[in-house]
């Protein structure tokens, strides 16, 4: 069958200048070549296409892939290997009908047979990949259809059969690689848009500063974020960069087995780094407590587990206990006691906040038409207490970290803070991964490949974290 579909290596050289074929349509779908008007339906919604056979044919022929990044590929969604010189035996006239060359090979998975590695360096564009692959190009039917046409061209020796399993695996690898690239692309785009947003925030900040808005303590700039919130976001973003640096330093220091004295300096530095964020949050609470308490400054995954504008200290300790092994009996008791105390304090604060909410609800609900402004004024006064709660919650977080520092040896403390830093780093990374996860419409077929690609993605981001 292959012989009906696929061109010949011999024919390649025979044709004299296979390289010139770049500018023409791939032979990938011979049927299409004869029906250029049908090229439209390539770009329409079509059924999923199994490239298995196609790729098998390619591999069999060991065709060298050309790159062509000049023309919009008619069959962009076709997997890369299927490019131009696949059917070199096709007479030129068929190529002339088609206007677009294979281009979007992207970085081909090198896992596929070496002969079919693409040389294309065209970056894949998402739109190309969102185009569904063309419908099965009647490859089987082509056997019958094509042969009359083929008869006029160079004769083709029969293809050598390759092991089914290998070909299927190669095809799956290709698919997995494609999906991985898609996800990477989405992730990078998200990063890009975050970068742009950051630039916008900095611009807002400049504007707000020049107008002295932030001095008024809460005059909201135009847009969804107040100047107080914008300022905090910027400072927090810098704090995150610092955090990353501190974590690396901690990791290096632990691996290098520095002396306790040196470690102490680094650990003290990390504590001070956290003190700094609490100080920043304190200032932000004065200007925009809602920004803090609703967690708009955090990533979605962190926001999901937010407690009173930040992390819940008892949850952090719960996470830490197994990571801090080995602990002395006394240390273990101390940390359990810390967890318990923190829980009591958190509970008391939560109850206080509940009472505030209840009181606010009563005030707003009971305002009559006549004295609604009066009630609003009272409600505003009550709202002001929110700041106190966020501050006390941050105070609790700060005290908890300090107490951990006191309970542990310097080496344990270094490991403890490394764990904390990496934990939140992963939580933040989780948010990004979640945002860029493939949606249903992007998955063409073969869900079995998906898990592998997901793992690859997660592992890629995990590589920056040490093991605990």
């Amino acid at each position: 069958m292959a012989s009906h579909r696929v061109g010949e290596p011999a024919a390649l050289s025979d044709s004299g200048a296979p390289h010139h074929h770049h500018h023409h349509i791939p032979y990938a779908v011979p049927y299409m070549l004869h029906h250029p008007t049908n090229s439209n339906f390539i770009n329409q919604e079509g059924p999923a296409f199994d490239f298995g056979e196609l790729e098998e044919a390619i591999i069999l022929q060991g065709v060298k892939i050309n790159n062509d990044d000049k023309k919009q590929h008619l069959y962009t969604a076709i997997r890369p290997a299927a490019t131009l010189d696949m059917f070199p035996s096709w007479p030129m006239r068929f190529h002339q009908h088609t206007t677009r060359g294979s281009s979007k090979s992207g970085e081909e998975s090198t896992d596929s047979g070496s002969a079919v590695n693409t040389l294309s360096n065209t970056p894949e564009s998402p739109s190309d990949h969102r185009q569904p692959p063309p419908p099965p190009p009647q490859m089987d039917a082509a056997g019958g259809i094509d042969s009359p046409r083929m008869s006029g061209s160079q004769s083709q020796p029969p293809a050598k059969p390759a092991p089914e399993k290998t070909l299927r695996r190669l095809a799956q690898n290709r698919e997995a690689a494609r999906k991985s690239r898609l996800r990477k692309k989405a992730y990078v785009q998200q990063l890009e848009s975050s970068r742009i947003r950051l630039a916008q925030l900095e611009q807002d900040l400049q504007r707000a500063r020049s107008q002295g808005l932030f001095l008024g303590g809460g005059g909201a700039a135009s847009g969804s974020i107040s100047s107080g919130g914008a300022i905090f976001d910027m400072e927090y973003s810098r704090w995150l960069d610092d955090d990353h640096r501190h974590i690396s330093e901690l990791r290096t220091a632990l691996q290098a087995h520095l002396s306790d004295g040196d470690l102490r300096v680094i650990v003290d530095g990390y504590i001070a780094h956290y003190d700094e964020v609490f100080s920043l949050k304190g200032a932000a609470a004065k200007s925009d407590v809602f920004h803090l308490i609703t967690g708009m400054w955090t990533t979605p995954a962190e926001r999901c587990f937010l407690w009173m504008g930040g992390f819940r200290p008892s949850d952090l300790i719960k996470m830490l206990i197994p990571q801090l092994d080995p602990l002395t009996e006394q240390q273990f008791m101390g940390i359990c006691s810390l967890q318990h105390s923190s829980q009591q304090a958190e509970e008391a604060l939560s109850q206080g906040l509940d009472q505030l909410q209840q009181s606010l609800v009563d005030t707003i609900a009971n305002g009559s038409v006549n004295d609604s402004m009066h009630h609003m004024a009272i409600a505003l006064g009550k709202l002001a207490n929110l700041e106190g709660f966020v501050r006390q919650a941050d105070n609790l977080r700060q005290q908890t970290l300090h107490q951990l520092h006191r309970l542990l040896t310097i080496r344990q403390a270094a490991r403890c803070f490394l764990v904390i830093g990496e934990y939140y780093g992963r939580l933040r990374a989780l948010s990004s991964l979640w945002a860029s996860r493939p949606r249903e419409s992007m998955i063409a077929e073969d869900n079995s490949c998906q898990t592998t690609s997901d793992l690859q993605m997660v592992q890629a981001s995990q590589n920056q974290f040490s093991n605990f």
Binding site: S337, L338, S341, A345, A348, Q351, Q355, Q399, H402, Q403
Partner: protein
């Protein structure tokens, strides 16, 4: 007699003294019981303080200064005493000033609150 109300704690008559310095009044009230909280009945952070002590198994004595005729003087004096953000809640244990809510929380986290309570006789084991 003027009774102070408190949440879940005992009611205490507030003696109306003549021209007593608010600071002296505070000291006298604080010394009278093991755990004393100066509070405001409308203040939610005071509710937090009360809940915390109750969760520890302590029954604090609570003075609601908004219900005291000379509550304002008391309020100013309390603020001077610990220099915090708000006059209430202010906590005394065993007659000694612990401070505002942040000091109480810090003391609980670093493990010093419970021994203090035991020492003052507010807690047994």
């Amino acid at each position: 007699m003027h009774y102070q109300t408190g949440s879940g704690s005992c009611k205490v008559p507030l003696k109306r003294s003549v021209a007593t310095d608010p600071m002296e009044r505070i000291e006298r009230m604080a010394a009278a019981h093991a755990v004393v909280i100066f509070s405001d009945s409308t203040c939610c952070m005071c509710h937090t303080a009360k809940r915390l002590f109750c969760s520890l198994g302590v029954s604090p004595v609570i003075y609601e200064i908004d219900q005291d005729p000379r509550g304002e003087d008391l309020s100013k004096a309390l603020l001077r005493l610990h220099g915090g953000a708000a006059p209430v809640p202010t906590v005394f244990i065993g007659g000694r000033l612990v401070g505002a809510i942040d000091s109480v929380m810090a003391s609980h986290i670093n493990g010093s609150l419970v021994p203090l309570l035991k020492e003052a006789g507010a807690l047994w084991l």
